[in-house]
Symmetry: C2
Subunit: 541 residues, 2 copies
Amino acid sequence: MTRKQPDPAKPLVADWDALQRIFIRPEDEASRASLVKYMEQILFGLHDFLGRHVGITREASLETLAERFKESRINRNPERKLADVIRWVIEEVAPHGVNVASPYFVGHMTAAIPFFMVHLQTIVAALNQNQVKLETSKVFSILERQVLARIHRMVYRLDDGFYDQHVQAPDSTLGGFVVDGTLANLTALWVARNRLFPPADGFDGVEAEGMAAAARFYDCDRCVLLVSRLGHYSLRKAGGVLGIGSRAVMPVDIDGNSRMDTAALRATVETLRKSPRTRILGVIGIAGATETGTVDPLPEIAGICRENGIHFHVDAAWGGPTLLSERYRHLLDGIEQADSVTIDAHKQFYLPMSSGMILFRDPYLMDCIAYHAAYINRPGSVDLGIRSLEGSRPAMSLILGSALEIMGSGGYALLTEHGIETARAFADEIRRRELFELVTPPELNILTYRICPPAFRSALRTAGEQERQRLTGLLNRITVMVQRLQRESGRSFVSRTTLQRTGQPDTAVFRSVIMNPMTHIGILKEILDEQEAIYRRHFEG
Amino acid sequence: MTRKQPDPAKPLVADWDALQRIFIRPEDEASRASLVKYMEQILFGLHDFLGRHVGITREASLETLAERFKESRINRNPERKLADVIRWVIEEVAPHGVNVASPYFVGHMTAAIPFFMVHLQTIVAALNQNQVKLETSKVFSILERQVLARIHRMVYRLDDGFYDQHVQAPDSTLGGFVVDGTLANLTALWVARNRLFPPADGFDGVEAEGMAAAARFYDCDRCVLLVSRLGHYSLRKAGGVLGIGSRAVMPVDIDGNSRMDTAALRATVETLRKSPRTRILGVIGIAGATETGTVDPLPEIAGICRENGIHFHVDAAWGGPTLLSERYRHLLDGIEQADSVTIDAHKQFYLPMSSGMILFRDPYLMDCIAYHAAYINRPGSVDLGIRSLEGSRPAMSLILGSALEIMGSGGYALLTEHGIETARAFADEIRRRELFELVTPPELNILTYRICPPAFRSALRTAGEQERQRLTGLLNRITVMVQRLQRESGRSFVSRTTLQRTGQPDTAVFRSVIMNPMTHIGILKEILDEQEAIYRRHFEG
């Protein structure tokens, strides 16, 4: 924020000695005491701290906030002492952040995290290892390989012999940690692209020669990616980045349960295979769609891919950790047939922002994206940076590995089961209330619904095409407005999206994600009560 | 590590209530006391803590360590309590990590960080904001824009009017935070690619249609990227990822000072422009080469790019923060003419791993990589995820913004100046010792040298081509072996690389990076003493 210049005659960092001290410890006892106070609250009373400090002020408009953050110069002298900066962050900035840890924040895939995750992140920052190479990480590279093997085994369930062979073999790559699901999907499709256009006699492969040369050599005009209409936007972006084009992503229709229509997929694949100058780069199955939480019929998709020799990728950024629940892991059956799988650790593994993973069934598939340099990542080394989109990156794998030990699969299962079962109870409650319509019931722990008063409901039943459009447009505006008013009132947050459903007009819906273990059905009822009240205040009487 | 199963009759997380408690606070007073002990050491005695706990055990071989991290199953029940896991991480794992904070670790671009960076990282983890969208970050998105404007202004020095207009304008994008320099370079070249093959009548642009279609429409066979032989390997990787091919990166010769030979660049550009089916996607100038720390002649490169209408990117991942030193900022003159600039915050801004930035002179250039979705990043919103390679990501900008306030540009300048001046003193010391040869003197704070005993030096002066090859091969083996033995002895770490110099055989060198403010010339002399001792023990007498 803008504030007055400190007195230039009294610089806070007077000289080299002062700077070295600042580097190493608080400048004085008062400063230390102030830091201790905040750190103690954060590390040992996180959820109270967030409730007290974050997102609790009267709503300041974006315009007002923006005015306070316009200064673009860097001062020569420190603006304030360390303790004052920390106090400013906590007392003046954080209140205008978003309390994603609130049990009333059920709108996005970001929520409360266990307090010990903050301890682990603190340790990771303090150790400051760089996972790009062994020389700056050593045991942490080895530990990362173990954590990857654990997650790989959770997904693929291969036998002891497989994991004994590959968990620590320098020439094997079971996958990689990446910053998030977007980069995990990008990495999967990067590998799939290179696999589709490999080196051959007279061609050094698409990685070396590029897409234009690959198209010429392999005699093709375009390649396509098939995913349901609910595919994450990172897939289009990956198409754009990889030089196959964002338009390469062809949406496949969904059925009435928001899952990929596999008859439509089969028909599309058959049609595409008839045009010899089109290649199918991959089919993506979704395990936990961003908007609806639904899971595609993975075994059927796997079968179609196997029959046609197509790379099968599963985007389980959201749903992956459901595999740790014995009660619900069957919902993801078929995932073990995928060539590659995306899982986010900052979603249902409850890590701090951000950490994703990409896994490959075949531990040699990532060889087609290997890069070396003279100073690091030398051929034959165990440097994790050899097969990786990113270069420098922190040891987030230490956090996941430790959390798996602290929670056990049983602990994670309790969280997953709470989410799924609370979402089901929420769906029942929505069905019971006449103002609302459940649009997509929860398969995992995400559901969508909208406002649809009884009068509209009966009108919609008999309406013709045009009237239906008009009524839906009205309902959309109501839902969008109620969502906005609820968000602005600052107590609860449900997100919104617009669903495209086959044969129906675009439908604006509330989207609710139940992942916070402190969110219970009582809170969800309050959220519905508030929405009803807002509706009645603005649209009735 | 492998250890025995806990008694299945006594699960540590017995039930839902126990889990909720684990989520919120330490399970008991003993556990809390144990955590407090470690966190206090980490937060308030970081450098002592690292000296005591990290990388200090007798060297365990990789094979030995690998054996301990082979278990690939996830236990159903927690393996140990939280406090025990933290104790295990600190007492059993960390000692086998790398103490990158040691002043004797002068081998890589990773070093000690100010203790308060760990406090700031703790706060970022606790707040757990997701910068992909306003709804999960609010003020932190606004603050990020301010921090980007400050860094943009440090680089481009445009006027108040420019920054007043763009710092908080929803339709402007001065750049972005990314996970590291690799992704920053990738983002820059992604934009440059889309700029080279934009939408036109009958073509929707390379982003939508892909590289094969772009090549057809724009009638070209290949595009190339020009960078000196010292370019970072992430540039080749970016070529591979973007579908233009890793081979698109054409190395330009360097001069005797390890800088791009601009006569060679000019000649190459002229030759390439004569082949109408080749496009130059960009020229990259380096500001702080990874291996030698040298800075390309940026004003001359900028001129050549301007004359020829070529995108000019500067990779200042390393050197960028030198701009905060009034004494040395002239070394980067010309950077303000770049279309795009990469700067890493986890390097010379001393942030924890990892945080990079990409900056664009033109605040609308990133529009060509915009993506939207129905649930976030809606058109017209200020969601930072609209123009970004990554999706979910933490508020690392809060750390950089706070650090700039705590240190001031003056504080950062002291660090930079210490590094540059200590490296110069180190170079003088190397020159004084007859066993060593300074191979590339420090322009910033990186230098390379090798072992070259007097007898070899005189022999090299008179040797013919073949003898020169043989002698260099011998010297290379000596330097490589001394580097390895010193690393394995565990006290000091200098890295090594192999330099390709025009007209000379490949040369193995020690590479030294001076960024730790606790590294002084006395320590560097000890490092040379140790290298001399190793040499004498193994190669003499």
